[in-house]
C-alpha cells in the first residue's frame, strides 16, 4: 500500500471496528480482508487493526498474527492458535515423550469445541501440533475483563505426529510479530486513555473553572502524551529494524507507557473514572492484560538490561 491507500485502509478499519460489537469483530475484520492483508501487507494491516482495537475497544486478533508465522500453508486456515499464558513468551506446551503438557490462552469461543494449533518445546527443539480442545481443561473468560474473550487452557493431550517438526524459527518470528501487534494495541489504548482524561478535564468544573486549567492536571496529561508518542515512534522503528530484539523493545516501551497513562488518566478522571458505567475501567483492565501478553514491560525491561550488562555494549542504533 502507498501512503494514500494506507490512510484509506486505516480509516475503513477504524470505522468497522468502531461499529462492530465485540461478538462480531472477527467477522467484521474478515469481511474487510484482514486475513489477506496479513499476508499481503503485514505492517499496514497489523498497525491499522491493532491500533484501532486498542483505541476503540475490542480484542486484537493476536492469535491470527502468530498464526501468520506458524501456520503450515493453508492446511490449517480457520484453526485458532494457542497463545502462551499471561506473562510468558515461551511456547505454550512442552512435549514429554508422546504427552503434551499444555498451558496457555485461547479465544473463548473456540475453547470448548474446536481444535487449536499448539507450539510445544521438547528437548530437541520446537514443534507445532494440532490438539482438540476437548482434551484440555478450558477455563472461563479472564475474570479481570471477560469481554476480551480470552480463556485459560491447561491439560495433557497425547501428541500425534507434529504438523511442523522444526518450528523454533517460526515461533521466534511469531513472538516478534505478536509483540509488534500488541505494541500497536497498547499505543491505541494509550491514546484512548488520554482522550478520555482530556475530555473530562475540559468538561469538569471545580473552583469555578475547568480542571484542565490546573497545572497539576495539565502536566499529567502532557506526560501521558509524550509517553504515548514515544511508544508510537518506538513501534515504527521496530518495524524498520525488523529484529526480534527491537520488537521486544517496542513492546516494553508500549506496555510501560499504557500502564503509566492509565494511572494518570484514572487520577484525572477521579470518581467518574471509578464507576463501572464510565469507559475508563475497561480500558485500564485491557492494558493490564495486553502488557502481560507475550511478556510484560517489567520482564522485558529487566531481560534487555541484563543482556546489555552481560554483553558490556549497546547494539547498533537505529540508522537515520
Amino acid at each position: 500500500m502507498d501512503a494514500a491507500e494506507r490512510e484509506l485502509y486505516t480509516q475503513s478499519v477504524r470505522a468497522a471496528v468502531a461499529a462492530a460489537q465485540s461478538s462480531d469483530l472477527d467477522a467484521t475484520l474478515s469481511a474487510l480482508g484482514w486475513h489477506d492483508a496479513l499476508g499481503a501487507d503485514r505492517r499496514s494491516a497489523v498497525a491499522a487493526v491493532f491500533e484501532a482495537c486498542g483505541e476503540l475497544g475490542g480484542r486484537g486478533p493476536l492469535d491470527d498474527v502468530l498464526g501468520a508465522e506458524l501456520r503450515p500453508q493453508q492446511a490449517t486456515d480457520g484453526v485458532a492458535v494457542l497463545l502462551p499464558e499471561l506473562g510468558q513468551a515461551d511456547p505454550p506446551a512442552a512435549r514429554h515423550g508422546d504427552q503434551l503438557v499444555v498451558r496457555g490462552l485461547v479465544r473463548a469461543e473456540v475453547a470448548r469445541t474446536g481444535t487449536v494449533l499448539v507450539t510445544a518445546r521438547h528437548p530437541g527443539g520446537v514443534e507445532l501440533h494440532a490438539v482438540a480442545t476437548t482434551d484440555l481443561d478450558v477455563g472461563p473468560a479472564l475474570a479481570l475483563e471477560p469481554s476480551l474473550g480470552w480463556a485459560e487452557v491447561a491439560g495433557m493431550a497425547s501428541a500425534g505426529s507434529p504438523l511442523v517438526a522444526d518450528a523454533a524459527g517460526d515461533w521466534e518470528r511469531a513472538v516478534a510479530l505478536g509483540r509488534l501487534a500488541l505494541a500497536h494495541e497498547l499505543v491505541g489504548a494509550g491514546r484512548r486513555l488520554l482522550e478520555l482524561a482530556r475530555v473530562h478535564a475540559l468538561d469538569r468544573v471545580q473552583f469555578g473553572r475547568p480542571i484542565a486549567g490546573f497545572q497539576a492536571v495539565r502536566h499529567r496529561l502532557a506526560d501521558g502524551l509524550v509517553a504515548t508518542e514515544a511508544a508510537a515512534a518506538a513501534v515504527d522503528a521496530a518495524w524498520d529494524l525488523a529484529t526480534p530484539e527491537a520488537a521486544g523493545s517496542a513492546k516494553a516501551v508500549a506496555g510501560a507507557t499504557a500502564r503509566q497513562v492509565g494511572r494518570h488518566a484514572q487520577q484525572v478522571l477521579a470518581g467518574m473514572g471509578f464507576t463501572a458505567e464510565h469507559p475508563l475501567p475497561a480500558v485500564v483492565k485491557r492494558t493490564l492484560v495486553l502488557d502481560q501478553e507475550l511478556g510484560s514491560a517489567a520482564t522485558l525491561t529487566r531481560e534487555i538490561g541484563a543482556e546489555l550488562v552481560a554483553g558490556r555494549a549497546l547494539p547498533q542504533p537505529l540508522p537515520l
Partner: protein, 377 residues
C-alpha cells in the same frame, strides 16, 4: 548527494582521517578551551573537505542537499568522540536563523565563517528577569539614525567569552509590548560597550556567561527579520534547538551509555535501570529520527518538538543517573581524564531538564498546543 551515499563516503573519509582528527594530547575533554580548539579543527577539516557544507543552501556557501546530511555528520562526529556535541550543535541553532532571517548579503558573508570553524557565535536570549518568561525581556534597543543603541544584560549566554557574534533579542517596543515589541539583532561581540563575565558552574565548565551591554551600537542592517518581529525569529529558532541538535545529543547519550556498560565493574549495574535507560534512548532515537525526516521533507517544525525535548531531557538524566551507583569512586574521587569526564557529564545532566526551556515549560507547551487544554489559570 543522498543520505546513503553521504553516509558511506563520509564514514570512509573519517576512517581515513581519524588519526589527525583525534583530540590532541593535552586537550583533555571537558576543558572548554581544548574542546573549542578541537571543534575548530574538526569544523575546518570537514568544511574544507566539503562535508560540513552539505545540507546548507548554496547562497550561504553550502552545497545544498537534504538536512539529513547535517544530522548524519553531527552523529558521525559525535559517535567517534571527535566533537563535544553541545558546542558543535550551536551551529544547528544559529545558522538556520541566519539563513531564514538575515539580509541575504549578511547571511552569505557570515554563515561560512560559522560552518568553517573560523568563528564562534552565541545566542543572547535569556536575561536575569526573563528566563522561562522570555517575553519579559528588558534589554533595550533604541533606533538612532542608522544604528541601534543596545543597553541591558543577558545571562546563560553559552560561549560569549569566545564569540565573535551574537544573535540577540532586544526590546524595541514599549515595556509592556511583551512578544510584540522584540527585535532580533546580529551583534559583533567586539563592539565597544560589551562586557562578558563567565559563570563558574556546578560541572566545572564555564561555558555560560553574563553579558552586559552599555550603549552598544549595532548597524541597522544587522537587524534579523522585521523590526518588532523578533519573537517569530526566536520561535523559528527553538524547533531547531529541539531537532537536529537533539539528534546529535541522542548519539552522544548512546556513546556514553555504551562507555558505561564497558567500564562499570561486574555487579555494579542494576539490570532494570539499565533496561529502562536503554529503552528511553531507543524511543528517543525513533522519535528524533521521525522529526529529522519531517524537517528534511520540508515540514515546518513547531510545538511538537517539545515532545522530543522532554524525551531527551528525561533520557539524559536516566542514563547519567546510573553513574553514581556504577562508578562511585571514579565519579567522586577520580583524577584521571575519564573520571573528570564522568563527573562533568553527570553534573551537566542535572541541567537537561532546565536549559532550552525547562521541563515545566515544555509540558505547558504540550498541554496548551498539542492537547489543546485551553489557557492555564
Amino acid at each position: 548527494m543522498d543520505l546513503e551515499a553521504f553516509r558511506a563516503r563520509l564514514d570512509a573519509w573519517l576512517h581515513q582521517h581519524e588519526e589527525e582528527l583525534r583530540v590532541a594530547d593535552g586537550d583533555a575533554h571537558r576543558n572548554l578551551e581544548g574542546d573549542l580548539r578541537q571543534l575548530a579543527k574538526v569544523k575546518r577539516a570537514t568544511f574544507d573537505a566539503g562535508w560540513m557544507r552539505w545540507g546548507w543552501p548554496e547562497r550561504v556557501g553550502g552545497l545544498g542537499g537534504s538536512t539529513l546530511l547535517r544530522a548524519y555528520l553531527g552523529e558521525a562526529l559525535t559517535r567517534r568522540d571527535l566533537v563535544e556535541p553541545g558546542i558543535y550543535s550551536m551551529t544547528e541553532v544559529l545558522a538556520p536563523t541566519m539563513v531564514d532571517h538575515a539580509p541575504p548579503d549578511l547571511a552569505a558573508a557570515m554563515v561560512p565563517r560559522l560552518l568553517s570553524g573560523d568563528e564562534t557565535w552565541c545566542q543572547g536570549f535569556s536575561e536575569p528577569a526573563a528566563g522561562s518568561n522570555l517575553a519579559a525581556l528588558a534589554c533595550r534597543a533604541v533606533r538612532d539614525d542608522g544604528v541601534w543603541r543596545v543597553t541591558g544584560q543577558k545571562v546563560w549566554t553559552s560561549l560569549a567569552q569566545y564569540a565573535q557574534r551574537c544573535v540577540l533579542l532586544a526590546r524595541t517596543g514599549p515595556a509592556e509590548s511583551a512578544h510584540a515589541g522584540v527585535t532580533a539583532l546580529f551583534v559583533d561581540m567586539d563592539s565597544p560597550g560589551i562586557t562578558v563575565r563567565p559563570i563558574e558552574t556546578m560541572h566545572g565548565v564555564p561555558e555560560f556567561c553574563e553579558v552586559f551591554l552599555d550603549e552598544v551600537r549595532v548597524p541597522f542592517e544587522r537587524t534579523l527579520g522585521e523590526v518588532d518581529h523578533g519573537w517569530s525569529v526566536a520561535m523559528d529558532l527553538l524547533p531547531y534547538e529541539r531537532s537536529t541538535a537533539l539528534w546529535h545529543r541522542g548519539a552522544f547519550l548512546h556513546r556514553r551509555l555504551g562507555d558505561l556498560l564497558a567500564e562499570a565493574p561486574a555487579g555494579s549495574l542494576d539490570a532494570t535501570a539499565v533496561g529502562q535507560a536503554y529503552l528511553q534512548l531507543f524511543a528517543l532515537r525513533a522519535r528524533s529520527r521521525r522529526t529529522q525526516h519531517r524537517l528534511a521533507d520540508g515540514a515546518r517544525l513547531g510545538p511538537e518538538t517539545s515532545v522530543d525535548k522532554i524525551m531527551l531531557a528525561t533520557t539524559e538524566q536516566s542514563v547519567f543517573e546510573l553513574v553514581p551507583d556504577a562508578l562511585p569512586g571514579s565519579l567522586m574521587a577520580g583524577q584521571d581524564p575519564a573520571s573528570t569526564r564522568w563527573r562533568s557529564d553527570y553534573l551537566y545532566s542535572r541541567a537537561a531538564t532546565i536549559y532550552g526551556g525547562s521541563l515545566e515549560i515544555q509540558r505547558n507547551i504540550v498541554a496548551r498546543r498539542l492537547l489543546e487544554l485551553g489557557p492555564e489559570r
